[in-house]
């Protein structure tokens, strides 16, 4: 069974985003970019399934600019077998991403499609669910644990009340939550080897997908800031403050 994983190049999670003064978006010039952390978890899960012999080949796909090749090389260094960059400099919304990935899946016929549950830039949390809808296949979102059992995958999901388990017919779409696994760091020899692994370049047009955005961003602004607070000297003072708030 093949596994297809989706990876996105985003602002590194350690970088504090800065809104551009003209309100057109977040400043991405000269800042560190990395693989979306949830996608690292997706790659790791696929690699572990291959190590267990459940998955035979892993293909990573990224939709984004030329630089997203670096993100795909990281995935290859973690253990992905080959990569596809669907290159575009435009902003591609989750719906169009899902359509492109469906195009890749139609050609590759993977048994498992693994995406991050959300990208930490637009925080949409949509792509996996949309992909599942377009393919008319089941979805195991916010996965905490997954086990392939014959023609099915059993997914433990992180939900608001705790955990839920569902059983999905393969092929299935999985979206990863934080505790599915802890992604590995690529070793130097694997980074070297990754340079020789195949990376194919395509365009959205190859899949007949129109990436024209459906949502117009009118402006991007700073969130309201909180006024600076006070420090109390000791617990007695804190108790007094809590009493003043009416909570004690």
């Amino acid at each position: 069974m093949k596994a297809l994983v989706c990876v996105k190049r985003v602002l590194d999670y350690n970088v504090t985003p800065r809104v551009k003064p003209d309100g057109s978006g977040v400043d991405l010039t000269n800042v560190k970019m990395s693989m979306n952390p949830f996608d690292e978890i997706a790659v790791e899960e696929a690699v572990r399934l291959k190590e267990k012999g459940v998955v035979t080949e892993i293909i990573a796909v990224s939709i984004g600019p030329d630089k997203a090749q670096e993100t795909l090389r990281t995935a290859l260094a973690m253990g992905v077998d080959r990569a596809i960059l669907v290159q575009t400099d435009d902003t591609v919304e989750p719906l169009a991403v899902a359509k492109i990935v469906k195009g890749v899946a139609d050609a590759e016929q993977p048994g498992l499609l693994i995406t991050g549950k959300q990208a930490i830039d637009d925080d949409s949390n949509q792509t996996g669910q949309m992909l599942a809808a377009l393919m008319n296949r089941p979805q195991g979102t916010f996965a905490n644990e997954l086990t392939v059992e014959g023609e099915h995958v059993v997914v433990k999901r992180e939900i608001d009340g705790g955990l839920e388990t569902v059983k999905l017919a393969l092929p299935a779409i999985i979206t990863t939550d934080l505790r599915l696994n802890e992604p590995r760091y690529a070793s130097l020899p694997n980074i070297m080897k990754a340079k020789k692994k195949p990376l194919e370049i395509k365009t959205p047009a190859d899949f007949g997908v129109d990436t024209q955005p459906r949502i117009k961003t009118l402006k991007v602004s700073e969130p309201p800031t909180r006024a600076a607070g006070v420090k109390v000297a000791d617990v007695d003072e804190l108790v007094a403050k809590l009493k003043a708030l009416g909570v004690a």
């Binding site: 919304e93 839920e164 617990v235």
Partner: protein, 310 residues
């Protein structure tokens, strides 16, 4: 006027609070029809009919809808959407699971996690863990939206008298089945509706220490208990305690962060709280930049002392 369809989140016992915020958001767009899907969900439909602002309730009662499996629910909603202009669901794990599937079936780009309604097709929403707020306008023929519960007042649970109409959908898609759930029984307020939240971080060391330090304070204050990702990852508390960008978004009257550094991903989930209190031994901890009241102290002495003096 726009016709909106909203998803009623329930556990077959009661309507979840998040639904009430969705109704407020939907009412800003137009008339509100509420969809109650489930198995033996007549009582929930009756409860929904009483919510102020709901003009009609659609009840889809079918074993296939019992556990809100997106594979079964999304086609039901997509079919119903022939008669509506907008679909709104809460940005809960259930809403986030179902709603994008509906959007894709309708060939619509979803607008996730809205904070405000600025016009019939214009909304604000947080991006980059709430470090930026985008004002966005949909160009799609229909709207599919998830609503951030803390950003909208709750509709009154009583005062309405909507009619209840039965609807049916395609039923079981045969793709997925529900196996089981591990739902913690709540002896304390649910995080997303708690007035006071006491949250613990990595500093709490282990599950026993977390329990022995945080729980007595929460009990004293009648508070809900939250945690940082680090505390959840380390197994001090279950996953549903996580507050943050990728966990729960909360905005209680009082949020007390104990031994939490204040990473942007954590702040994203609690910085709209009315009063933030932080206890941390590092006076440089970023949490103090958002805290209204800060105490620089070792939590292992400060928290027990606080409990005693309350």
């Amino acid at each position: 006027m726009m016709k909106t369809l909203i998803w009623v989140e329930h556990d077959n016992t009661s309507v979840k609070d998040a639904t009430l915020s969705v109704i407020t958001a939907a009412a800003k767009l137009g008339e509100v029809t509420a969809l109650v899907a489930g198995s033996d969900c007549a009582a929930i439909a009756e409860e929904t009919a009483k919510i102020a602002g709901v003009s009609k309730v659609l009840k889809a009662d079918d074993a296939a809808y019992a556990n809100a499996l997106a594979e079964n629910i999304a086609p039901l909603i997509a079919d119903l959407m022939g008669s509506y202009d907008a679909f709104l669901a809460p940005a809960t794990t259930t809403g986030k699971n179902i709603s994008p599937r509906v959007a894709a079936l309708l060939d619509v780009m979803q607008i996730s996690d809205i904070l405000s309604v600025e016009g019939p097709k214009t909304f604000t929403r947080p991006v980059y863990a709430g470090n930026a707020i985008a004002t966005v306008e949909s160009t799609d023929a229909k709207l599919v939206i998830t609503v951030r519960g803390t950003a909208f007042d709750k509709a009154e649970a009583t005062g309405g008298s909507a009619s209840v109409e039965d609807v049916s959908g395609p039923g079981d898609a045969g793709l997925a089945s529900f196996v089981g759930a591990e739902i913690a029984t709540l002896e304390r307020p649910e995080l997303t509706s708690a007035k006071i939240i006491v949250s613990g971080g990595r500093a709490l060391r282990d599950a026993e220490t977390f329990e022995s330090v945080i729980t007595p304070l929460a009990d004293k204050l009648g508070a809900g208990i939250g945690a940082s990702r680090a505390a959840v990852d380390a197994g001090y508390v279950p996953n549903d305690y996580q507050v943050g960008q990728t966990g729960k978004i909360v905005a209680p009257e009082v949020y007390i962060a104990i031994g939490i550094s204040g990473a942007i991903q954590h702040l994203a989930g609690m910085k709209d709280s009315k009063t933030i209190i932080a206890i941390n031994k590092d006076e440089e901890a970023p949490i103090f930049q958002v805290a209204d009241i800060g105490l620089v102290s070792d939590l292992f002495t400060a928290v027990p002392e606080l409990c005693e003096k309350l």
